[in-house]
Symmetry: C2
Subunit: 241 residues, 2 copies
């Protein structure tokens, strides 16, 4: 059956338990509670044993971040799949809502990934997950009216590079679009939208709006309306495809 040796199976099982224990500690008691000794205690082993699995406490936390991002990606895909209407703007809206919902439901995880100083100058993990999902959707909106002239000239070079990334993500999903559809203007607006989405969700998760907002959801919704409008989706416009 299992072609893996007994040792390998046990090792894989232990590693699974380590991640699980670390995650539980994070969720229950926050980032600072995720200590090697606490994890070891949960497994009934001693702390140094964990060094057989991870080089350091830091490496373990990094792994935890990756796990969290993978989980979020899964949740986002699931929520997108549940949106069965053919309308693209509904799908985009669904993904945005899914991102907010996930962040609110997993504040400790969000804070950890958000506040972890990853590989310097590396890409944001949330951004990668989210945009590689939303990118293809937005690209498939054929009738957006943005032209490249709208965006600051100084950004052209960076945007072209990001355009390549997004087109790669799109083609991985089967579809291929020309750079006339996913043009610089559209990409620019996508990033502007990401800034707003990120800002709102971070402020809301951390409870940091400049005044007490009793129910931030309508604020989020109306922001979404405006964002989608800017990207090129229009309320009454079916844009089915």
């Amino acid at each position: 059956m299992t072609e893996a040796t007994r040792r390998e199976r046990l090792r894989a099982e232990t590693e699974r338990e380590i991640r699980q224990a670390a995650r539980a500690l994070l969720v229950d008691s926050g980032r600072d509670a995720v200590t090697l000794r606490a994890i070891a205690r949960k497994l009934g082993i001693t702390a140094p044993a964990l060094y057989r699995y991870y080089d350091s406490h830091d490496a373990l936390l990094r792994q935890l971040c990756d796990d969290i991002c993978a989980d979020m990606a899964e949740a986002l895909y699931a929520d997108l799949a549940a949106e069965t209407s053919g309308q693209v703007n509904c799908k985009v809206r669904a993904v945005c809502h899914a991102f907010r919902r996930w962040a609110l439901a997993h504040p400790q995880e969000f804070a950890l990934v958000f506040a972890s100083p990853r590989d310097p100058l590396g890409a944001d993990q949330f951004g990668s997950v989210f945009l590689q999902l939303a990118g293809p959707l937005i690209a498939s909106n054929q009738d957006a009216k943005h032209v490249d002239e709208e965006v600051p000239a100084a950004l052209h070079e960076d945007l072209v590079r990001f355009q390549q990334v997004l087109m790669g993500a799109v083609s991985e999903h089967g579809v291929t679009v020309g750079d006339d559809v996913l043009n610089l203007g559209k990409i620019y607006h996508v990033i502007q939208s990401w800034v707003r989405l990120y800002g709102h969700v971070a402020l809301e998760v951390f409870g940091r709006f400049p005044f007490a907002v009793s129910n931030p959801e309508p604020m989020f919704d109306s922001m979404l309306d405006q964002m989608l409008e800017e990207i090129g989706f229009h309320e009454d416009d079916p844009t089915a495809r």
Copy 2:
């Protein structure tokens, strides 16, 4: 001269040195380097002595946050004062730029205040500092065209509460305006702008844009243009006052 007793002077001096040492450690080596023992070492005393000044390590960090915010407020006021043109939109722009500049120049401080889980449901400190400064400016823009009907009805109650806060800040600056000038629509757009400002600066300071941006400044500038437009400032429009 000093009507304070010798003991009080020494105590005040030591407290100043503690804050200074803590700040230096934060700036030089990051949040985790701000330990009681490291601070004590800098002062040539022992760690428990610090408990004569702060109840706990946490309380000291909180004090540090407050100091940082006060410093930022000072920097923002200074930059605003340096903007001598009478045009209000220039002043708003100056404060926004000052916020970004400060955050980029003080990444460790920004990260600490940003990531510190303050009093739950309390107001954001950056938001308070910034908006109490920008609020009066924006309020003084008489000819904004927003009407209350634009904002989601569910937000009315919260916005009215925030309106009171802002009007208080305005009147503290000498001016008084009616709630017809600082109406709900305008306040709503101010908050939307804060979300974008916050999102952009956080992403930039943490190096977390979804792709490598070689020079984020033009992106910030063009975002600012769009924000000011939405709030009710127009490019060609002097709006002097």
